[in-house]
Symmetry: C2
Subunit: 315 residues, 2 copies
């Protein structure tokens, strides 16, 4: 029996800092309903989907405005309507959010929720970009290393429900998608579907020189294509896009097959659905031949990957 899973990416336009949670949640539920109406079984939302990308703003660590960006439980009353609607529709979803644990730790996290409304697995972002302190004189910051602890979950894989074809699933968040190490740890768990949410700058919001939005979108897509190919997995990579708080975010949300081919891609920078029917068994050819890890990997020569953090050029 073919293992077909109908995937959707729910790209979101910007969440302005002044937007109410209710308004944002309403847009997410509308995207969920639209995806369900078109047959989707699993919907992928962006990183930090419930708020603006707040690491661009310097805030005091225990200020109410910062704490308001974090979820102290998942689900919680504020986001429960999304969970309820998804369960009623029998649709699962991935969503990224800022997590504040009972112990006071803060993570850039994501969960994947099954069609029955239960949380299948959790992930905390490992590759945090940005700075651990405010850069003076810059209007816009990138403070992920200040606001979040490095994820402590590793790169877990989980078996999805039988109704989805029991795929081996993994999650990444934003910058993780550019790091082949995370993909490979998922690949070594036989991953067939990788879910990713992101917020990626379209240009330097402080007006410095930098890459074009077109090039940044190319990089975002290229990394997902090649890592999906090299691990013989499907991938769904979903942006929050557009002009958010005066800073631009790329779109380019995409669904990529195990050959690294883009099978669906968002065209705009607003709320937009992309859909694809994923044949999970399309992963088999890669896993059994070209990327038969057991036959072809040579880990005795990979030691530097774990022994060294930074690059050390020869003399």
């Amino acid at each position: 029996m073919a293992r077909i899973l109908r995937l959707a990416g729910a790209q979101m336009g910007p969440n302005q800092r002044a937007d109410s949670r209710a308004a944002i949640l309403g847009r997410m539920i509308a995207l969920l309903e639209g995806a369900a109406a078109r047959g989707a079984q699993l919907v992928v939302f962006p990183e930090l989907a419930f708020t603006t990308f707040f690491p661009r703003w310097p805030m005091e660590q225990d200020s109410p405005e910062l704490l308001a960006c974090f979820e102290t439980a998942m689900p919680n009353p504020q986001v429960q309507p999304l969970f309820d609607r998804a369960k009623a529709l029998g649709v699962g979803f991935y969503v990224g959010y800022a997590e504040l644990t009972p112990e006071g730790q803060r993570f850039n996290s994501a969960v994947t929720v099954g069609p029955d409304g239960s949380i299948l697995f959790r992930y905390r972002k490992i590759h945090l970009p940005g700075s651990d302190r405010v850069k003076p004189g810059q209007r816009y910051q990138q403070l992920e290393k200040m606001y979040f602890a490095y994820g402590d979950t590793g790169f877990p894989a989980a078996r999805g429900p039988a109704a989805w074809g029991a795929p081996v699933m993994g999650m990444l968040i934003c910058n993780d998608r550019r790091w082949p190490e995370g993909w490979r740890v998922l690949g070594l768990q036989g991953v067939e579907l990788v879910l990713i949410g992101y917020n990626s700058a379209a240009y330097d919001p402080n007006g410095g020189e930098g890459e074009s939005a077109e090039r940044r979108t190319f990089h975002s897509t290229l990394a997902v294509q090649a890592n999906a190919y090299m691990n013989a997995t499907w991938a769904v990579s979903v942006a929050k896009a557009g002009n958010e708080d005066g800073a631009g975010l790329i779109g380019g949300s995409c669904i990529v097959d195990p050959n690294g081919e883009v099978v669906a891609q968002a065209k705009g920078l607003g709320d937009e659905l992309i859909l694809a029917e994923a044949d999970l068994d399309a992963c088999r050819q890669g896993k059994e031949k070209m990327f038969n890890f057991a036959a072809h990997r040579r880990p005795q020569w990979y030691g530097m990957i774990t022994e060294r953090t930074g690059a050390v050029p020869p003399g």
Copy 2:
């Protein structure tokens, strides 16, 4: 002072099994001279450039026909004219060849030769594809695992000569380019230029179902683009192409910049030069920002990459 290195890829059309060494060497020297005439300082030849891709043919391990495919030293009298001409022109090169050591070990190897004719460094292919035994009933084989030992050099990086801008250089061979581990070990040595030769099937020569030549070329290019981007390095990836011994090889030789953009690509399946001026300092932005490994890598979560060879899916 800008660090500009003028690169050439010398894609080769097929080497038929019946072709003489002299004829093949003559084509290589013509490509070298053509590249030098257009200003190239470093020319990249394919994998197993001096012969047909002989792992497609079953031969007895100590038969004269198999031994004739191997080089017992590099250089040696048969290939000396290429070394002599390159030295006279002041052009360096990468070339792949079958190596038979004094101890009787056989490797799929490559060397990079400096503008003064000396060998800068050596590499022995680690990711051998194919089978370690003849598959009965198949006209065409892929016997790399039978004819060659796995490379024992690791993934060495070397500093190129001052006349080239002293780039940190690495080598890969063919199938290695699809394995992010090899690229990352080079990246962790600060590599600015990766040289690659390949022979990749354009279709199943035994007439089975398989991917199109177009898709295989896409995969070949995609892997180089993304791994160049993720390691912020230039890359030159060069095919032996066309109908060789009745089996098709893809072309698609390319030069890729540290953004993962293809800056030159071969159009045909014959002897063909591609050229690019590589600004080595274009690697700096990636190495200092997005792919600042010291700032952003988290090796404590990469352990599975060295601890596990094959994939182990969750229960």
